[in-house]
Structures are given as C-alpha cells and as structure tokens.
Amino acid sequence: MGIGVCYGGYNLRLGTLHNPDSGFMLFWAGIIMFGLSLGVLIRAMREKAIPGELKKVLWAEIRWKKIVSVLIALFLYATSFTFLGFILGTFLLLTFLFKAVEPQSWTKAVLGAIISTLAAYGIFQLWLGSQLPKGFLGI
C-alpha cells in the first residue's frame, strides 16, 4: 500500500519545496508507511515463531461461522437496502440476527424484529426526519 500511495502521490505532482503540490504529502506518507511496514515485517520474520502458536492465540475457540454469517447479512442488507426499503430490509436483518448468534425461539426473534424495526422507524423517520428508503413496497 505504501508503494501504491507513493506512486499515486508522484502522479498527482509533487511540486517543489517552495510550492508543494497535491502529491507532496501523500508521497512522503507512502514512503514512511512502506519503510515502517518493511521494518515490522523483517522484525516479525526474525522472531522465532512456535508452530501453531499464532493461530492458537488469535483464532482459537472462535465462532467463525457466526462472524461470517453476521457480516454476510450486513453486506446483503446494504446491497438490498434501497430495493427492499427500510422496514422490510431491517425486519429481515433483525430476525436473522436475533436467531443467528444465540439460539432463541422464532416467536421471540420475529417479535423482537418487529418491535425494533418499528421503534427505529419511529425514532429516525418520524421523529428525527431521516429520509429512509421506502423500497419496492413503497412503505
């Protein structure tokens, strides 16, 4: 990334010390970033790693599927936000989130999603006047 920023900065024109141009600061920031990253990389390579230790420390006992499923749901929500509209999209997202991470009954999940969606709609759309998308249903 440091090299990319340097290149981008150079293309934007560096200017001179008398009159620095748009790429001046970016160019030097890129060089510093590249140098530091190289330093951190070399240091990490010099350290004697115990096989499997890093994996154990960072990723042991992690509920991977939960994190990935939540992230996918959030990206899908963003992608379909304008099309589905706030009410339908939020209801579907919340039902999934209430149900996905810790198991609870469908009734609780759906009821929780309905109440939360309507409350959020009331606060943001009706009270604060945010322009939330209506979606294909027009609500």
Partner: protein
C-alpha cells in the same frame, strides 16, 4: 469582560429548556453506553451525531459532550458489579471495585466513584474555565509552522503512549493521514485517490470510519465468543461512603483531579491513560500497597476521579487551538464543523454563547449525573442484565441507520463495514485504532499547515526550528520518536503495558 460575565452568558445558554433537555439526553445516553459493554462513547457520539442535525450548535455540542463525560460515570458500574469494564477508562476500576463488591461493599464503591467523578469533573471544568481564555489569546500568536509542529507533537504523543509496538502505531497514524487526504485537494481542488467515485470527492466520512472501527469491530469481537456476564448478586446498600472511606479517598480524589485534568490537556492523553496512571500513583503512595487489587477504595476513587477530570482537560486544546487531543475530541471537532463552527482561538470571541454554554452545561450535566448514578443505580443494574444476543442486533441496527442518515448514502454503510472488518483484524494483530482516527482528522490540517509554512518560507525547512513556538513541540516530538532507541527510555515505555496487565 470578566469571568463572571462569561459565566452569566454560559448559564443563560445552558439553562434554556432545549439545551437542558439535550444535556439530559446526552448524560443519560452516556451513562447507558458506559454501563453497556460493547459500545463506547466514540461509537455513541458518532451514532447520535445525525440526530443533532436539526438542533442548534449549542444543543448539539452540549449533548455530545454529555455523552462523553456521562460514559465515564457509567463505565464504573459494570467494572464494579460485573468485572467487565463498560468502556476503556474504567478497566482499572475492575481491580479494586469488583473486589469491594465481593466483600459486600458494592454500595460504597459505586458511591465513591460517583462522588469522585463529580468532584473531578467539576474541578476540571473550573480549570477549563480559567485556562481557556488566556490560552485562546496566546494561540493567536500561532501561525502555520506552529500549528504543523503542534499536530506532529500530538500525533507523536499518541503513538508514544500507544499500547505495544510503536512502529505499528506509526503505521496506523500514517495510514490515517493518507486516508484523511482522500478527496479534493483543499488548495487546488484536484481529486486525490477518489477512483472516479463521486462519493469520495468530499473524502472518506469520519462517522463511517469511526463506527466501523469502534462499533462494528467491537460487536464482531463480542460475538466470536460466548460472553458470560456474572452479575454479582448482592443487595446494593449504603451508597454513601463512610467517614473512613472519605478520609481514605480524599487524597486520591484531589490527586486524580489534578492528574486527570493535566493529562487530558496533553495530546494523546485522556481518560484511559489518566485512570491507569492515577492507579499506579495511588499504589506507589499508599502505605499499604498490598491492599491494592484486594478491594482498596483508593484504587476506585483515584482512577474514577482522574478519568472524569480528563474530560474537561481535553476540551482545552480543542476549544483554544482547534486541535483535538484524542479520538473523542476529534469526533467533537467533526460535530463543530458540521454545525458550521470552527473551534480555535477565535471561537471564544466569535461564539461566546456556544463556548461558555458548553462549559457551563457541564456543571449542570455533572449534577444530573450524580442523581442518575446514585439514586437510580438499581435501574442501571437492570440494564446490565439485558443479554448480549438482544443487544448486539440493536447496536448494529443503530450503526447502520446512523451511518446512512448522515448523507442518505448506502456507500457509507459499505465504508463502515469495511472498516469494521479492518478494526476487528487490527485488534487481533494488535494495531491500535486511536492513532489512525486522530491522524485521519488531523491529516488535512497537517498538510495544509505544512504547505502554507513551506510557501511562507520559500521552501526553507528551518522555519520549523527558527521560530521558538514551532521548534519546541518539534524537538519534544523528535525526542519521543527516538526515545525507544535510548536504552533507559525504551525500557520505561515498555513498562507501561506490563503494569497495566499486572
């Protein structure tokens, strides 16, 4: 005009019904986010920033400031009762606060932390009131070289006090500067790293970045493991500390107030660091340091006072110089700008109502917090019992709508999610978010002042050394940057995180 007249202006603004309401909402939400683990004051402030768009600048800043100091109050409740800090500045309160609760002294622990917070918060406002006017006048002498070196110093201190690796913190700060420069060049309007995206013309938004780094990533970290909240089952009685408690706590409260206030002023300082240093100081000064970690009331009183005192101190560089010393103040700077106010040396003159209104509202807010945190402690204990499986979808929902409603742009949601994943990985690999966010905010200011300085001096870099006010911060910054290479200094720096862990 003298101080009393300014106070009169301030109270006439702060006591307006609308401002009182916003102040109450701010401290209430602040306490709530302080109590709830998983969302801190920065996340809450960015969430609620869109809610202030319709409000006056005074009401908006009063509310956002209230969230900050309110969170400092609320954070102690979870530390004492659950042994989980509600926010980072209350981490150290767990050590003795939870032990006091286990010994049946949850009441005095909560009581002294509320009173200490009130005293520290109030004294720091007094300090802010006395120091801000002369500093504002002094800051009028500052030109671009002085601003540039001050920003360099601010970022350097933040990097210096960052936990763990200094090169990693430097990388994050550099990345923050680069990110801050995305968008149109302020001097010649040339687009930089916009990749032909209209959404990037104005740069990357502060709110999506902050919400991603501090909101989404925190939720991801919390859901990766099953959180067991073990609320200490005891009747909370006797919130008023005894005479002996007061005797033991008076010194720590006094020292915590001074320490927190002055550390709050320093760039990179703030609530978290002052609470840790206060704990270390009290332990060192105590005749019985062995009591610390086993329920010493001094270990609660000192840090809780210091973290509140730091909030007042943090306003000084922001309101007098326009330079935020920490991430929370960077958020407030963003809020000031959105409401068309530029904080800095002229703010006191141009916007006296806002300047003094915000300061005096903090007196009122601290009073409200005392009421919220003592008689209503039972309510916050109930809030603590809300399971995370219900809480996290709501936090995510508020992040999503909050980010969207700033510009009505789905693009901002994507930015937030990307920074959420990045923040999650950063925490895993021990890269800190704070240097990045502060550098992100200060980056454009830094570039602007650097370019103006070089144009002024016709490319002569000695301008940063020949002007005393510019040279002093730069020399300190250079010293801090090379200090890890000096054996005894490097050792001192490494001792900080070790002490925190122990």
């Amino acid at each position: 005009m003298d101080l009393l007249s300014y106070l009169g202006i301030g109270f006439s603004v702060a006591l307006q019904p609308e401002n009182l309401l916003y102040c109450f909402i701010g401290v209430f939400i602040g306490t709530l986010v302080g109590v709830l683990p998983g969302i801190g004051p920065v996340g809450a402030m960015s969430l609620l920033l869109p809610a202030t768009f319709k409000a006056t600048p005074e009401a908006a800043i009063i509310m956002l400031a209230g969230i900050y100091y309110g969170a400092m109050y609320g954070g102690s409740t979870t530390s004492i009762l659950v042994n989980i800090p509600g926010e980072a500045a209350s981490v150290v309160t767990c050590l003795d606060g939870y032990q006091m609760a286990r010994q049946g002294r949850a009441g005095p622990a909560l009581g002294i932390s509320a009173f200490g917070s009130f005293i520290g918060g109030t004294l720091s406002i007094l300090g802010l009131m006395l120091l801000a006017p002369p500093l504002s006048k002094f800051a009028l002498r500052f030109g671009p070289p002085e601003y540039f070196t001050l920003i360099v110093l601010g970022l350097t201190i933040l990097i210096y006090v960052a936990h763990g690796s200094m090169p990693k913190a430097l990388i994050m700060a550099t990345f923050g500067i680069i990110l801050g420069l995305v968008g149109l060049d302020s001097i010649n309007a040339r687009p930089r790293f916009t990749f032909d995206k209209m959404e990037l013309i104005d740069g990357v938004g502060l709110i999506p970045v902050v919400m991603g780094l501090f909101g989404i990533s925190e939720v991801l970290l919390n859901i990766e493991q099953v959180i067991q909240k073990d609320i200490f089952k005891t009747r909370i009685k006797g919130l008023l500390p005894t005479a002996k408690d007061w005797k033991d706590s008076s010194g720590p409260i006094a020292r915590g107030s001074l320490l927190g206030f002055f550390l709050g002023i320093l760039p990179g300082g703030g609530a978290v660091i002052s609470s840790f240093i206060s704990y270390g100081l009290e332990k060192r000064l105590s005749k019985h340091p062995e009591r610390f970690g086993k329920g010493a009331i001094e270990g609660v009183a000192g840090p809780e006072t210091a973290n509140n005192a730091a909030t007042g101190g943090g306003f000084i560089p922001l309101m007098t110089l326009g330079i935020p010393p920490n991430v929370v103040m960077a958020m407030l700077l963003g809020a000031f700008m959105i409401h068309g106010v530029t904080p800095g040396p002229l703010m006191m003159k141009e916007n006296p109502g806002l300047f003094w209104g915000v300061i005096t509202s903090m007196y009122i807010g601290n009073g409200m917090l005392l009421v919220l945190n003592l008689p209503l402690i039972g309510m916050w204990v109930q809030v603590l019992k809300i399971p995370y499986k219900i809480l996290f979808p709501l936090i995510l929902l508020f992040c999503l709508i909050g980010v969207y409603s700033v510009n009505n742009a789905v693009f901002d949601i994507y930015i937030m999610l990307i920074f959420g994943i990045m923040g999650y990985l950063m925490k895993k690999f021990e890269y800190e978010g704070a240097p990045m966010v502060l550098a992100f905010v200060l980056g454009p200011m830094m570039e602007d002042n650097l370019r103006k300085s070089l144009i002024m001096s016709q490319g002569d870099l000695t301008i940063f050394f020949t002007r005393p006010l510019a040279a002093a911060p730069l020399i300190v910054a250079l010293f801090l940057l090379i200090s890890p290479l000096i054996p005894w200094m490097g050792k001192k720096r490494q001792e900080i995180p070790k002490e925190e862990i122990s």
